[in-house]
């Protein structure tokens, strides 16, 4: 009647022929717009006999629905292909790394020091620090090393031109921090003291005149040598791994008695000497006005540089002070 039979075929052809969304909009206007055959047919419905109107109206709506569906399907397809062509234009090779974000690196000593501190913090210790330039009192005398003591010579101390000769020095161990802590703090004391220490060692593959130690001190009631051995053991497990064992061997330090070296086990069954330790000497407690009849304690210490050197198998410990960026950025 309105010649609508081929309309949906025509619309299908036209919309398939539309290659852009703009073209498709024109097709939409052509077949569904105000001047389209369908709209005109709808307007002309009133001219039809009443009994035909319902059927023809239904037919018009069906065709309209078909065309709408056709166009919307075509629209989705065109949109999709536009995205795809946009994406293809935007293609990036993600392996072209033109602008890396440079992260900085903590020095190996700091990394080890933080890790050691954290192990002991977990065990209820706090971290104490002290000056690197010290008097003979803190570096030696308070630690039960009088001026004539044969052990003084073993420290290879670096002295500075302050006060009387050999009165002021770069601390040769972190033990002065023990004294300063005991002087300023009432027991109980649970501290570790990491820091820089100095000896007149010429720098070579295994020695540095400036190196780092960490020292532990516990002063409390009823502290025993068994506590010392157990503390070393649990630190060794936490830091080196559960499979690593520790042992104490008799040694001598003027500031502890009994004194010991402590070793850790290696996978081949041998032992590696790690540091020194012992029960705080009563004279040291007395020098800090702590009554050795009431308080007892232990101390231990070891080198951080050596630990780092072992862990990363450094072939030359001087790497730690040369500060070559190619070295620093490895860790």
């Amino acid at each position: 009647m309105f010649d609508l039979e081929n309309l949906s075929n025509e619309a299908e052809e036209a919309s398939n022929a539309a290659s852009t969304l703009e073209d498709l909009t024109q097709v939409q206007t052509q077949f569904l717009g105000k001047k389209s055959k369908l709209v005109e047919a709808k307007k002309a419905l009133g001219t039809l006999p009443a009994e035909d109107r319902a059927n023809v109206g239904k037919e018009i709506n069906e065709i309209k629905g078909q065309i709408e569906q056709l166009i919307s399907g075509r629209k989705s397809a065109l949109q999709e292909s536009e995205w795809i062509s946009k994406f293809n234009k935007e293609r990036m090779d993600l392996t072209e790394r033109l602008r890396p974000i440079d992260r900085g690196h903590l020095h190996l000593i700091t990394q080890a020091r933080d890790e050691l501190e954290d192990v002991f913090i977990g065990m209820g210790y706090s971290v104490a620090e002290g000056p690197e330039v010290e008097t003979a009192w803190y570096n030696f005398e308070a630690l039960n090393i009088p001026d004539w003591h044969p052990a003084r010579g073993n420290f290879d101390t670096i002295f500075v031109d302050l006060g009387e000769p050999e009165e002021v020095m770069l601390r040769s161990h972190t033990s002065p921090v023990q004294i300063r802590t005991m002087e300023s703090q009432e027991p109980p004391i649970y501290i570790v003291a990491p820091g820089r220490t100095f000896r007149t060692d010429s720098a070579d593959a295994t020695h540095l005149p400036a190196f780092n130690q960490i020292e532990g001190l516990v002063i409390d009631k009823g502290i025993t040598m068994g506590d010392l051995a157990g503390t070393i053991d649990s630190f060794v497990h936490a830091f080196f791994g559960e499979e690593v064992k520790s042992r104490l061997r008799p040694s001598y330090f003027p500031f502890t008695e009994p004194s010991a070296e402590f070793d850790i086990s290696r996978s081949d069954g041998s032992w590696l000497e790690l540091g020194g330790c012992g029960m705080v000497h009563p004279n040291v407690l007395r020098n800090c006005n702590i009554d050795p009849e009431v308080w007892q304690g232990f101390a231990f210490g070891f080198g951080i540089d050596r630990l780092v050197s072992m862990r990363y198998q450094l072939d030359d410990i001087r790497e730690l002070v040369v500060n070559d960026a190619r070295f620093l950025r490895q860790f």
């Binding site: 440079d102 992260r103 971290v127 330039v133 007149t200 061997r249 003027p254 009563p282 960026a325 620093l328």
Partner: protein
Amino acid sequence: MKVLLSWLKEFIPDLDHDPEEIGKRLSALGLAVESMEVVGNELSGVVVGKVLDLRPHPNAERIQLVDVDLGNGEATQICCGAFNMQVGDIIPVATVGSILPDGMEIAQRKLRGEVSNGMCCSASEIGLGDDSDGIMILSENDPEREWDIGGSVSDTLGLESDVLWDLEVNANRPDAMSVSGVARDLAASLGLPFNFPMDRYEKPQATVEAGIQIDIEDPTLCGRFLACIVKGITVGPSPQWLQNRLIHLGMRPINNVVDISNYVMLELGQPNHTYDLDEIKGSRLGTRRAKAGESILTLDDVERNLCEIDGVIVDGDDTPIGIAGIMGGASSEISESTTEIIIEVAWWDPPSISRSVKNLNLMSEASMRFRRGADYGINMRRSLNRVVQLLSETCEPEISELMQVDGNLPDTSPVRVSKERVNGLLGTSLASEEMMDLLQSIGFECQEVIPEGGDGSPSQNDFQVIVPSWRWDTQTETDLAEEIARTFGYERIETTIPRGPFTGQLSRFQKGRRTIREILIGAGCDETMPMPFLAPGDLQNAGLSSNAISISNPLVQEESLLRTSLMPGQLKIISYNQSHRIKKLKFFEIGHVYLPSEGDQLLPDEREYLSISITGGDATEIVAILDLISSTMAFPNMQLNQQEIGGLHPARSAQVSVAGKNRGVVGEVDPRVLKNYGIDDSVAWLELDLGSILSGSFGKKKYKSVSKYPSSDIDLAFAVPADTSSASIEGCIRKAGGPYLQDIELFDSYKAGGVTEGVRSLAYSLRFQSSEGTLTDNEVSKLRAACISEVEKKTDAKLRE
């Protein structure tokens, strides 16, 4: 201290343990084994040779040709790199086909055209000691001996297979500086009997008059002085077995008198001295402190100036003939013609000897033992007798009675030990009897204590200990607790873990420092850690004051000053890296500097500084990092005050203040400084007194509610003269904007056409917002006008329309 298995066995006859096991025991006793080696293995093919002729090598300067007789009377030619032989010398020769202890196989070789039929050997090459300095001259000390030319060197020298340990002996173990002392500990540890075999020796009758006067003038110096006169001495070589042992333990044989003296010191730990009696004037040996101005020529041919710190032995003329406890004088040294000697065995006060060693900077085998505390007991007499006994193996000496004078000896009163206190220290639960057994096994005499006012039965808790004379170091209950622990075995102490009352944590300071490190890593900076030593000139080259603390005993001049700034160290690191073609560097360091103190404070004013250095960047790059740190850490009132600063670019440098106090500098390093350090790039620099900042208040952040009303943005651009800072303009805007100014950002800075010379254009983006309602256009323009007016009133900047 080195010890030989065969020597230990003389004191522990039942010792038949595996050498590895013995080594472990020694280490567990605190005598750490540094090395263990098997020595004196069969030397097959190494024979006694006699040097017949020495000729230069025609084609090589460093080699000579040696003809040796190897027993067949013929000359065998050997090329040799050592030149210490003379014709007639008797030497060990490794013949072709022999294998030396280190595995070296000897073959016939041609060296630069000359045939070598074997090798002349040093002492260390045949496994006898460490001496590899030249060929071993067997005949050196014994020219008269009939040598079995061509015979086995092993047989000739009596070399026997043995085990040699090198032990580390701690400063508290004077007794372990001897073979017998090591043996005593080892025997106790193994539960084997220990004894002194020389005690069975019967001393010959005294046939010589003891005609020497002994005076101890300072009893605090000399605690005991024993002497004996020996006549009928023939100086000559000592027995080969004795020489071998000396060599193994690291000493060089000289003659029988000297060797025996050394042997007894190594064996019994008692340093002793022999004088040529003829050279002692006035038949007297006195001991006293030296006087200022006195001097002595010691055995090592060095003239030494003495002072009151040193002790001396003097003759009848009161002239020093030896330095107490350290070294004898040359004037009474044993010579080939000596026939009569005095043997001295003395005990010197350890602190006195220690101070003297330090004063004279002279260490000897004797002083090493005396400063630790030698044995002042029966061992002195034993040692003197042992010298006589060994001398009688080499000649027929006649002896005098022993003379003895005592000064002040160590306090020998018993030390009281409480079982409970010792257990409380060690964490053990030993009975008193067990403790006593342990101590007695190493020669400590233990006695029961009968408490006063009790029923007369011994105390269950306390006992007392008489410390043996060879353990001068042991004086207190704690010292004895250590001996108990050592002999009980550290490894047998049960481990426990103390639980302190604290929650472990870092201080605010330490947490702050860690956070700053993390910020810097995020900002791409690598942490450096140079040594804090500087070379003279480093500070001046960095444009800084040269006032720094110097090191009294520097190893090298380059490390003779303590830094007062991190800059020289950082510039050296930058220079090093750039010379290795690493260009873009971002470094930071947190470390101590040591400022000379003002006033009478002894220690330096030591501070913890932070430095950041960036190569190829300008100052603003590093100010941005400073701002990042300051805002993250909430440093109170961080400000930059631009000014000239030594070492920095004069027009690109500012003081950094925090909470109104100067806390550092920021800018770029002065290009002239960079030139001094060989750096050809710009370096942006920041140095903060981080320790002081973190010791003050920081990190306080306050909540401010986020406004739910819309905000209004405006832009303002000013023409700003060179000496007006952006910070001052921002300050004015902040002041005028008051609580409504949410944000201010400098988004443009340029010097371009349209702006007068020296004047730059600074453009700011401002955001206004109220927490009470939407700001009207009118309110915003009032705020805008207020900001402009404040800037123009307080600074020389003018709004650009």
